[in-house]
């Protein structure tokens, strides 16, 4: 896959604070890239460098082969982005603001485009209300709608689900999944991600301004020594009891059992079937939170 974003050895220093230290990541076309890290780990700074809002002190950054600091206005014809403290002018209505932003992003029909991006998040409900009357959730929805103007090839979202209601989270999840099917790229940064856990194709963990680990999800799991087998069974309780008795570390989610520390799925299936329990292996499920915790604690 071709790299949509290339960040090599980037440093950013604010006064005496080193926000990013020698950070390198690659984002491939069509990937759902999760950028995770605790507060202050440098996620937002990195995304602002990628979107050309901040100039790095050292290092090389490319987005679609272009230097974002120099050519920001060009790349936003096919890039959308939102940051956590999105702030249109208070007096602007959702309608006026999205139409203006559509125009700034060179949409063919700004009015039509504004409405099209507003609908999935329900922003059209408060279409003509000024921004200062919006709740924090509505502000976030407006920011999300803004990011998807012109159906960009790359969308960069910084903490997108904060303050969002369930419907909006699902809408966002659906959009991200559909975009991935269309080979469109999505970069999502957060310190807590659950919605995209099972859709992520690539990961990067940041801590204290450094990349702890990055790559494809499977690669990251391998690098971190995470081995697990996912089994689906019709008798999860009984199966869980047997596996625990055999000394396996397990987690049960409905009819799914995740057996940790094991790579041999066939052996486990065989074990259960010999005891009269129907079982089959499934694609390994990513427990992002666990990986994240492990990455941070292992340094």
């Amino acid at each position: 896959m071709k790299d949509v974003i290339l960040v090599e050895n980037v440093w950013k220093i604010f006064g005496r604070t080193v926000a990013l230290r020698n950070v390198s990541i690659k984002v491939s076309k069509g990937s759902v890239f999760l950028l995770m890290g605790p507060n202050g780990s440098g996620k937002s700074t990195l995304l602002k460098i990628i979107t050309g809002l901040i100039k790095p002190n050292r290092g090389h950054v490319e987005i679609f082969g272009t230097n974002p600091w120099k050519e920001r206005h060009k790349i936003f014809a096919y890039v959308g982005a939102m940051f956590e403290d999105h702030a249109p002018p208070d007096w602007a209505s959702g309608k006026a603001y999205l139409e203006y932003k559509s125009m700034l992003k060179k949409a063919e029909n700004p009015e039509k485009e504004a409405l099209a991006v507003a609908k999935p998040f329900g922003v059209d409900t408060f279409w003509k209300h000024p921004f200062y009357t919006y709740s924090s959730g509505m502000k976030r929805k407006l920011a999300l709608a803004d990011a998807f103007i012109n159906d960009p090839d790359l969308v960069i979202l910084d903490d997108p689900t904060v303050a969002l209601d369930k419907e909006a989270r699902l809408a966002l999840q659906e959009i991200v999944v559909n975009r991935a099917k269309q080979n469109k790229t999505c970069v999502i940064a957060s310190h807590i991600i659950t919605e995209f856990e099972h859709h992520a194709t690539h990961l990067a963990f940041l801590n204290l301004g450094q990349t702890i680990i990055t790559g494809k999800v499977e690669e990251v799991m391998d690098k971190m020594g995470i081995r697990q087998v996912t089994i689906k069974t019709n008798k999860p309780r009984k199966a869980a009891a047997i596996l625990m008795k055999k000394g396996y570390a397990i987690k049960v989610y409905g009819n799914t059992i995740i057996v940790e520390g094991s790579e041999d799925a066939n052996e486990i299936v065989k074990l259960l079937e010999n005891l009269g329990i129907k079982a089959k292996t499934e694609e390994p499920q990513v427990n992002l939170w666990e990986m994240y915790t492990k990455a941070l604690t292992s340094g």
């Binding site: 604010f14 700074t45 602002k48 979107t51 050309g52 809002l53 901040i54 100039k55 920001r72 206005h73 060009k74 936003f76 014809a77 959308g80 982005a81 939102m82 940051f83 403290d85 999105h86 702030a87 249109p88 002018p89 007096w91 602007a92 209505s93 006026a96 203006y100 932003k101 125009m103 700034l104 992003k105 060179k106 000024p130 803004d146 990011a147």
Partner: protein, 255 residues
Amino acid sequence: MFLKVLKWELLAGKRFYLAFLLYFLILFSLGKYIQDIQNVEWKTPDDYYIQSLTPGSMIDIYWKASDVWWFSFPVVIAYAVFTFSYELDKKILRTYLLSCVKKRTLFLAKLLSIQLGLFIPLIISLLIVYPLGDPILFGSNPLEVYVNLPRRLLLFVSMLYIMIGISAFSSIVFKNPLYAFAAPIAVVYTLNIAGLRVVSEYVPPQCYPVISLGSIGLVTSERFFSSLSMALPAVIASTIALIIAYIIFIRRDVV
């Protein structure tokens, strides 16, 4: 793109025009209107005569330069600082910049919109105030009421330009709006205390406090160019301030 951004800056959701129209109307209405025909001495090296002036020509004579200046500059500076500090606040700025708009376009559109945002209410208020000051003359010869209006407006524009230049510079250098507001005010006061009255003395030229020495009402070419030349250092200083502000703005991170 520039025109579209400027249109948004000028029109979308703004209520400043009304506020400034009201402000200028009140400001100008503080001038003393003269109800009768005045006889004024004209003295030149070659000539001396007494001319009768109608109130229309006299309207602005008694608006003292210092009054207009002292009343205008804190408001204009506050507005310009507010616009630069608030609407080019990093959050809002970032929101705009996540698009195809260039920083340069945004800066220039904002600057022009501030100038126009003040100038449009100013010209409207003058167009209202002058006929109100002399309805009889306005009825008989409207153009006489607006005598030398373009020249007056040009001098006003340069006054606004000076104040906006200082304000834009201050807003971009100081991140705290309070400092951004206080700094240009302090500069203006210091300039005046130091006797550098070029900023405040020249505008508006029709408002010289000593009537008999001025050209009274009519902004003659001599007065006009004299006023402009007096304003020139401040206009140049303002331009330099704007260029520095622009460079800082273009190079600065939008954190």
